[in-house]
């Protein structure tokens, strides 16, 4: 006599797994299709953009549009400015934000709760409201129209998230581990650098993605604070209305690619948790 095996649970599990896969594919497509279309348009010939119906496959590839875009005045400089501003913002906000997050996580001090609330107020103000007085201030300080001015603005915008994310990251690093390092001869700074910081790195990588992408995409403040030293989005925006369609696609392409590269690089740190890799 053989027993009949009830296979419904395993069938349900299979079905659930299939639906999860389908959902993942749907979300990925939602993200990827616009990027694909922009890349396609940026890499197609000018004429093929006017064809009807538009071909969705890369049949008419050429770098002519992109070359024209990159060759137009100010684009390379703007790309450089964007990279400088992004890296500068990353560095400055980490320099200020990571220690601040550590202090929030490890120490109690008077005014700690109001401080955390106050941090978020910078983000409550619209960028325009922040930028106009800043522009005045920077004019009197003689740093108007420099990448440095934009770095300062972007750092101010990024700090709340940097501080709050790194505080919660440091909260997840056990105090025990830090104390053990101290007992074995590390100075406070040594214990931070050798033990706490490496353990916090994946979370800090996440914060840095927010910071870089925010800085890379921010256009309003960068447009107000600069004239000749525009970042890429500000430069593209200022010449968008009077430029051909192909130029706009090429601009979009040039804007998207660097931040995708940055995210891909940081993803390695993000998903590489200690001893286990999220796949």
């Amino acid at each position: 006599m053989s027993t009949t095996v009830d296979t419904t649970p395993i069938a349900r599990q299979k079905r659930n797994r299939f639906m999860l896969q389908a959902a993942c594919i749907a979300v990925s497509l939602f993200m990827l299709v616009p990027i694909y279309l922009i890349s396609l348009a940026a890499l197609s010939t000018r004429e093929s953009l006017n064809e009807f119906p538009l071909s969705l496959l890369p049949t008419n590839l050429s770098v002519e549009t992109l070359n024209a875009f990159l060759g137009s005045t100010g684009i390379f400089a703007a790309l450089g400015n964007s990279l400088i501003v992004g890296a500068g913002t990353l560095l400055l906000s980490a320099l200020i934000g990571v220690p601040a997050g550590y202090a929030l996580a490890r120490f109690t001090f008077p005014g700690k709760d109001p401080y955390q609330l106050f941090l978020l107020f910078t983000r409550a103000l619209p960028i325009v409201v922040l930028s106009v007085p800043l522009a005045r201030l920077f004019l009197t300080m003689d740093i108007y129209d420099t990448t440095y001015a934009v770095i300062l603005l972007h750092t101010a915008l990024a700090l709340p998230t940097t501080i709050l994310i790194s505080a919660s990251v440091f909260l997840s690093v056990p105090v025990d581990v830090e104390e053990a390092a101290r007992l074995f001869g590390c100075s406070p700074l040594g214990a931070f650098g050798r033990v706490v910081l490496p353990m916090a790195l994946p979370g800090l990588a996440a914060a840095s993605i927010f910071t870089f992408v925010m800085s890379w995409n921010e256009v309003l403040g960068a447009s107000i604070l600069t004239l000749d030293h525009r970042t890429l989005p500000a430069q593209v925006l200022s010449s968008l209305s009077d430029s051909p369609l192909a130029y706009r696609f090429a601009g979009g392409f040039a804007l998207v690619i660097p931040s995708i590269i940055f995210i891909a690089l940081m993803r390695r740190y993000l998903t590489n948790m200690w001893g286990s890799t999220i796949r």
Binding site: D176, V177, E179, A180, A181, L183, F184, G185, P198, W274
Partner: protein
């Protein structure tokens, strides 16, 4: 020589109303095996943390081997302590974790390598030296050696 002299140690945690340790005096001779026994919350952990330098007493003094260490930072005390939870560095291999205290004590590299191998053989952790702590079994983790500088050349434990 590593006698421990504790006299009139008083500690109240900030915000606490009661003293965590109330005028504790104690002397432990070199090589002596001492057990602290008492009800939960009576201040055993607090006392040990003050000896290690992880908490600072409000008054009283601690000296180890004749040297006053009352307010000395933990990294200057040359002590070792096993934590109630396993404090391991999860981002570093087992080998690095075991050798950490020696590395901090600036022991030469070959010497560290030799001693780590010796401890690992003793605890049958040899094959796992190049793994991350997360990839050990529960029992393997319990055999975890925590060799600070002092467990190799004890001044006190």
């Amino acid at each position: 020589m590593a006698d421990i002299q504790i006299s009139n140690l008083v500690k109240t945690y900030p915000g606490g109303s009661e003293r965590a340790t109330d005028d504790v005096s104690l002397s432990i001779r070199d090589g002596e095996f001492t057990v602290l026994l008492g009800p939960s919350g009576c201040g055993k952990t607090t006392l040990l943390r003050m000896i290690a330098g992880l908490e600072l007493p409000d008054s009283g003094s601690i000296s180890i081997g004749g040297r006053d260490v009352t307010y000395l930072p933990p990294n200057k005390r040359n002590l070792s302590m096993v934590f109630q939870s396993y404090a391991v560095f999860p981002h570093r291999k087992v080998r690095y974790n075991i050798g950490f205290g020696l590395r901090m004590a600036k022991v030469p590299v070959e010497e560290i390598e030799r001693k780590v191998q010796w401890a690992a053989d003793l605890l049958q952790l040899g094959p796992y030296l190049d793994r991350l702590p997360a990839n050990l079994s529960g029992g393997q983790r319990q055999r975890w050696p925590w060799p600070g500088p002092s467990s190799w050349t004890p001044t006190s434990c």
